[in-house]
């Protein structure tokens, strides 16, 4: 018989608010095997852990039940606590009375009743627990960074700097991400290219970094320390190793009418292209959707002009398989579509643009060579209206936009407004805002400068409608402080579109078995204390894939994620999972059912000598589990017709005991 201690956590009011913790510990006191039961405000705190340690010593406990938050949160903590007190860590079971009880049930009686039942199930299980000893697994000392924007770049550089090899997978033909499209960066106004492109070159030159551009993650298997990843290197129809990036092909290609995504479709590129001058890798890519040669078999101009002979129309997608110890998601963001906000006439006038388009318009390498002109007629705009919070901070019931604040818009709009007034003092600039949110070092000072020194008109209110009339945009807006409705005749309207995670993030999260929130941002293992780790071991988060953030914040988080990766890769071995399958050889009849269902090939058969009751010996074929290979899924336990196969930590008896406890 076990001697079980029950420890009920209040989690402040998180649990105690909906669950009568005293009643739970009292009720569990009377369960079979329980010799000690108590409750405490924060079981995971040092004081709480001391209670557990002292109780183990004092009551000679052989098993522990902690009724607390999800085992995904603190199971490891309490196992360590038990181990420190000399108890086998696998004698600890958690009853999840927070995520699966107090947080989802509203009133005290139901919450308490359910918590007691969950506690009883855990006690019933622990009664049948046995001490386990984990095996060890090696760590592949290589990291994968998915996404080659500033977040992925910084993470990769930091990991490489520590001496570990890193691969960057970027779906576009070049790394650089959104930052490469920006003109200047707030609040210091350094040019984005000037600070980003040297880092891109560092990446290209770092011996520890490989770049898989124009590539996507196809499949992820394995687990922390031992991920098996398949990467699809999409055919770019140009041999990367030979292409010198001279760009002649991109000038000679006769297909000139391809919308240039780097300039957000505001100008055209050729069917063979290098996204921008400082691209890394600087090699051309053929856009198969537009290439005449690939579509009709007639053309071949690029091949003719390429002196290096790098063009290869027969190139196929390539699958690269690689092992990684850690994976970093750095998939970034995009501005949302403005389709549902056509009161601002984005789809009705070329002169209504998003802020990212404004960046390209003011960028010296952009479609207008840095001259701020109207996309419709190339004329200089004299009145510009900026609209903030377009699609941000929308209630779910409004059925459009995002509920969150996109965080970066206030600052970049202040930047746009200021730069416009600086370069074109004859321009009237209006900014319509709901709130100006500028928390950050030197941020508010920046915004005040835009108002006080540059004379930007900040108006508290919102634009209700933009009406394109002739070559003007009639802006109807409210000025809440003056209690007036304004009608402004504008030449250009700039919408601060909300940002959302890149569409590739959700399928990636599925492959990584990483969690996401309802907005498709990756969730962190702990919102405060583990902000750069995903709850899935070995998967880390970098940049805006975790939530809206500006460049300084992105870079900090990228370095933090790198630090976590380095910490993992620095280990030679990881402690494995001891919850593996095992066969009772006396019951096994050697039928091979388990072998056939095992996805890892962990089960083999051995001929073994058994002593029979009549003292003779007989050789029988029995299953044998390779514990280093077994991942503990349990498929074999169900396939086994004789009930010989069982799973440690999730034994048939244990689960049945839980079922019984719940149905009691």
């Amino acid at each position: 018989m076990q001697r079980i201690g029950v420890f009920v956590c209040w989690c402040g009011s998180n649990i105690a608010g909906t669950v009568d913790v005293q009643a739970v510990s009292d009720a569990l006191q009377n369960e079979p095997g329980v010799v000690f039961s108590t409750n405490y405000q924060y079981m995971c705190s040092q004081a709480g852990q001391d209670i557990i340690k002292n109780a183990i010593a004092e009551h000679k406990l052989t098993g522990i039940v902690v009724c607390s938050c999800s085992p995904r949160m603190h199971e490891a903590t309490f196992r360590k606590t038990a181990a420190a007190a000399g108890l086998n860590p696998y004698m600890v079971e958690i009853a999840n009375i927070r995520e699966q009880c107090s947080w989802v049930h509203k009133d005290m009686p139901t919450g308490t009743e359910k918590a007691i039942i969950l506690g009883k199930a855990a006690v019933a299980k622990v009664n049948l627990n046995a001490p386990l000893k984990p095996g060890e697994s090696p760590v592949t000392k290589r990291a994968l960074v998915i996404g080659g924007g500033i977040a992925g770049i910084q993470t990769a550089l930091d990991i490489a700097e520590a001496g570990f090899p890193v691969d960057i997978v970027e779906k576009k033909p070049t790394i650089g991400g959104k930052m490469a499209q920006l003109d200047k960066t707030f609040p210091t106004l350094d040019c984005a290219a000037c600070i980003l492109t040297p880092k891109m070159v560092d990446v290209a030159q770092n011996e520890n970094i490989r770049i898989f551009s124009y590539s996507e993650v196809e499949e992820v298997g394995g687990f922390v320390g031992n991920f098996d990843v398949k990467i699809r290197k999409k055919a770019r129809f140009v041999n990367e190793d030979i292409c010198t990036g001279c760009g002649i092909c991109t000038e000679k290609c006769p297909q000139k009418k391809v919308p240039n995504e780097f300039n957000l479709g505001m100008d055209n590129r050729r069917a063979i292209y290098i996204p921008f001058a400082q691209a890394v890798p600087k090699v051309a890519t053929i856009d198969a959707d537009y290439c005449t040669m690939l579509k009709t078999g007639k053309c071949g101009v690029c091949s003719k002009v390429c002196t290096a002979g790098a063009i290869d129309y027969t190139q196929k997608d390539e699958i690269i398989e690689e092992k990684y110890g850690a994976i970093v998601a750095a998939t970034g963001f995009n501005p949302i579509s403005m389709d549902k906000f056509d009161e601002y006439a984005y789809n009705q006038s070329k002169d209504v643009i998003t802020s990212l388009e404004f960046e390209r318009l003011t960028n010296a390498a952009g479609p207008s060579a840095g001259k701020l002109v109207r996309p419709s007629d190339g004329k200089h705009p004299h009145t510009i209206v900026f609209v903030q919070c377009v699609g941000s901070r929308c209630a779910a019931c409004a059925e459009k936009g995002k509920e969150y604040c996109s965080k970066i818009c206030c600052m970049y709009t202040a930047k746009h407004a200021m730069l416009t007034r600086d370069k074109y003092p004859d321009t009237d600039v209006y900014v319509f805002y709901i709130d100006v949110r500028t928390p950050g070092k030197a941020f508010d000072e920046f915004y005040r400068r835009a108002v006080e020194e540059y004379g930007v008109h900040y108006i508290k209110g919102m634009v209700g409608k933009v009406s394109p009339e002739g070559d003007k945009l009639m802006v109807q807006a409210s000025d809440l402080l003056a209690n007036k409705q304004l009608h402004i005749e504008a030449d250009l309207v700039v919408l601060a579109a909300a940002i959302e995670p890149d569409k590739s993030a959700r399928p990636l999260a599925t492959q990584l078995t990483a969690s996401m929130d309802t907005n498709d941002f990756f969730t962190e293992a702990h919102p405060k204390l583990r902000p750069v780790e995903s709850p899935t071991a070995g998967v880390f988060l970098s940049g805006t894939c975790q939530g809206p953030k500006d460049i300084p914040e992105t870079v900090s988080q990228a370095s933090a994620a790198a630090a976590k990766v380095i910490g993992l890769l620095a280990k030679d071995k990881l402690t494995g999972n001891p919850c593996v399958a095992g066969s009772d050889e006396l019951m096994c009849n050697g039928c091979s059912s388990c072998e056939r269902v095992c996805p890892y090939g962990a089960i083999t058969y051995v001929d073994k000598e058994f002593r029979m009751p009549d003292r003779t010996t007989r050789v029988r074929r029995v299953a044998s589990v390779n514990e280093a290979v077994c991942q503990g899924c349990g498929a074999c336990t169900v396939a086994c017709p004789s009930g010989a196969m069982d799973l440690k930590g999730f034994a048939t008896k244990q689960i049945i005991a839980e079922v019984d406890a719940i149905c009691r």
Binding site: R393, A395, G461, G464, K465, S478, L480, Q485
Partner: protein
């Protein structure tokens, strides 16, 4: 807020189905309102004043009868507040009282011209009278 104002506020919130607390004070309703210049209290003020129980001035305001029920504020509000429904609920609180019809049937003939469609008359009666 005294008791009767509080009850009136509750009644307006209940019958309109609007939760003024959802408002984030962006003013888009007033930015989009075609009748803005005819109103002394504008859509965003309706929301704010109902939320604060400052309802008496609204009851006396001509703004109640200037709203065109064009649903533009409802359509464009990013928070789904639906200010026009509040305006309607306040207006009903006024005209449902005995003798408080804003438009009386007897007044109508004087307002008509021969082309005026029936639709205008029934709509106005619905909006201005019980």
């Amino acid at each position: 807020m005294n008791n009767s104002t509080e009850n009136l506020q509750k009644e307006i919130i209940r019958s309109s189905g609007v939760n003024p607390k959802k408002c984030m004070r962006c003013g888009k309703c007033s930015a989009t309102c075609p009748a803005y210049d005819e109103m002394e209290y504008h859509p965003h003020q309706f929301v704010y004043m109902v939320e604060n129980g400052d309802i008496q001035p609204l009851l006396e305001s001509k703004s109640l009868f200037q709203c065109l029920t064009c649903f533009a504020c409802i359509e464009r509000c990013p928070r789904g507040v639906e200010p026009a429904k509040l305006v309607e609920a306040v207006r009903l609180a006024v005209i449902r009282k005995q003798g408080a019809n804003h438009l009386k049937a007897d007044d109508i003939p004087a307002l008509l011209d021969e082309d005026m469609p029936q639709q205008a008359i029934v709509s106005a009666l619905r909006k201005y009278s019980k």
